[in-house]
């Protein structure tokens, strides 16, 4: 990994956190879930990152977002579980030959199509945990399900857009 790619990741990290706090968190649509974009950072970790390390990173990112938004531990809980399930989802959708260990960026390793599938599944897990813990009861469960579904669609569409705009640039061959 070159120095520039570290810089790129740090810049992307700051951009995602700031846009979450100052832009996407301000968008409320009644009855709909909120847009979350920061889980993208976790999905950009190299695929062969040790899984316990991934979970600790997820916990830390979730805690940072909770710290900035004052939401207690909701994002922390959702991110930790998302990081936990990341490994299993990666195994489930891996190609038969396994992943290429030399590449660093998961977008290049997996190809854009599979990466977006990963985004969809991961964001769904995140939203499922987030809204279940936020409500913590089965009362009006349809409403919770609607928020989970709309939140998943809106968030993964936004993340897909960001990926296509900023990350898939060097990867046109594989689309």
């Amino acid at each position: 990994m070159t120095f520039t790619s570290y810089i790129q990741i740090v810049v992307l990290f700051i951009f995602l956190v700031l846009s979450q706090v100052f832009l996407f968190d301000l968008i409320h649509i009644t009855g709909f879930g909120k847009i979350v974009v920061y889980p993208l950072i976790l999905l950009l970790l190299p695929i062969y990152t040790p899984r316990f390390l991934g979970m600790i990173v997820g916990f830390a990112i979730g805690y940072l977002i909770d710290f900035l938004l004052g939401t207690g531990g909701l994002h922390t809980a959702a991110m930790t579980f998302m990081a936990f399930s990341r490994g299993f989802v990666l195994d489930a959708i891996s190609p038969s030959s396994g992943y290429d260990k030399n590449l660093i960026s998961p977008v290049q390793e997996m190809g854009i199509g599979k990466f977006l599938l990963l985004v969809l599944i991961m964001v769904f897990i995140h939203q499922l945990l987030y809204y279940s813990i936020e409500r913590f009861s089965f009362h009006n469960f349809i409403f919770t399900i609607r928020r989970i579904a709309t939140g998943t669609i809106l968030s993964s569409a936004t993340i897909a857009l960001l990926t296509l705009l900023f990350l898939a640039r060097d990867d046109k061959r594989k689309i």
């Binding site: 939401t71 922390t76 579980f81 409403f143």
Partner: protein, 276 residues
């Protein structure tokens, strides 16, 4: 012993998950759902600053609307000064006799939320400005919430639009009492329970604060009836209401401080507990 290490090695991810989720749920329980938290910690100080910046930015875009609203409110106040006999008691403003018991101060809303099941409004005044737990929050048009947490410079109020909020109100025309509650779905549809069927409630009627709890002065508008349903199996009416304020467009609010509240509270607490 070797088996133990083997188990730990085999399930280390699951163990880590349980530990980390345990921490996360502890944070949730401490800060969000229950009002046990002390707001003065670093986290709230940072998020308070961030909310201030955010509000400063978005305030520019709402200036026109806010001006109109203020002008409307001013007109209302003016009309009360010049025609005090035409609008005696049932007006939106606290009457002269109320203001002896209640003090009002202004604060700016720096964060407001209607998407959670328990929603909080953050204001830019705190303990240093005399804000305490249990004080009410109103605008010129109706009730907003009740202060639940305070820090030196900021305070959180639980919004009326919260599943844990319960405000005693009365029907303006008949004086029938009820409780204003929210079921957690649509922030523009709340309900009032415990109003008995002997009262006639029509669509468009106003419910005002009862003033029993000392969070709010009496006769502050709270909600407007949008639907009345009859259920033969109970002796109560199902009343759907809309708040008299626009909860998603708050900017400046008044904090109600009851001068007699400490006395009333200590009097209530001195009662021997007979029931329960």
């Amino acid at each position: 012993m070797r088996n133990l290490f083997y188990l730990i090695e085999r399930f280390h991810l699951l163990i880590l998950l349980l530990i980390l989720e345990g921490f996360a749920l502890m944070f949730v329980r401490k800060t969000n759902l229950y009002q046990d938290s002390v707001l003065g910690n670093a986290s709230k100080a940072v998020s308070g600053k961030i909310y201030t910046v955010r509000t400063d930015i978005s305030e520019y875009f709402g200036l026109k609307l806010e001006n109109e609203r203020l002008a409307e409110e001013n007109a209302h106040y003016l009309s009360q000064i010049s025609y005090p006999l035409i609008y005696p008691l049932d007006s939106t403003l606290p009457s002269q006799s109320d203001s002896i018991v209640f003090d009002y101060s202004v604060a700016k809303v720096i964060d407001n939320n209607i998407t959670q099941s328990v929603n909080y409004i953050m204001i830019n005044k705190g303990i240093n400005d005399g804000i305490e737990k249990g004080q009410g929050l109103i605008t010129g048009l109706g009730v907003v919430g009740i202060i639940t947490n305070t820090s030196p410079d900021y305070a959180l109020a639980m919004s009326v639009v919260s599943t844990k909020s319960r405000i005693s109100v009365k029907h303006k025309n008949s004086g029938a009492f009820g409780n204003l509650t929210w079921d957690g779905t649509n922030p523009w549809r709340l309900s009032i329970d415990n109003v008995s069927k002997t009262n006639t409630v029509a669509v468009g009627d106003t419910f005002v604060t009862a003033g029993y709890s000392n969070f709010f002065p009496p006769n502050i508008p709270a909600a407007i009836v949008s639907e009345v349903k009859q259920d033969p199996s109970t002796s109560f009416l199902y009343i759907d209401v809309k708040l008299s304020i626009e909860i998603d467009k708050l900017d400046y609010v008044y904090i109600v401080k009851s001068k007699d509240k400490p006395q009333i509270d200590s009097l209530r607490n001195s009662l021997p507990i007979i029931t329960q």
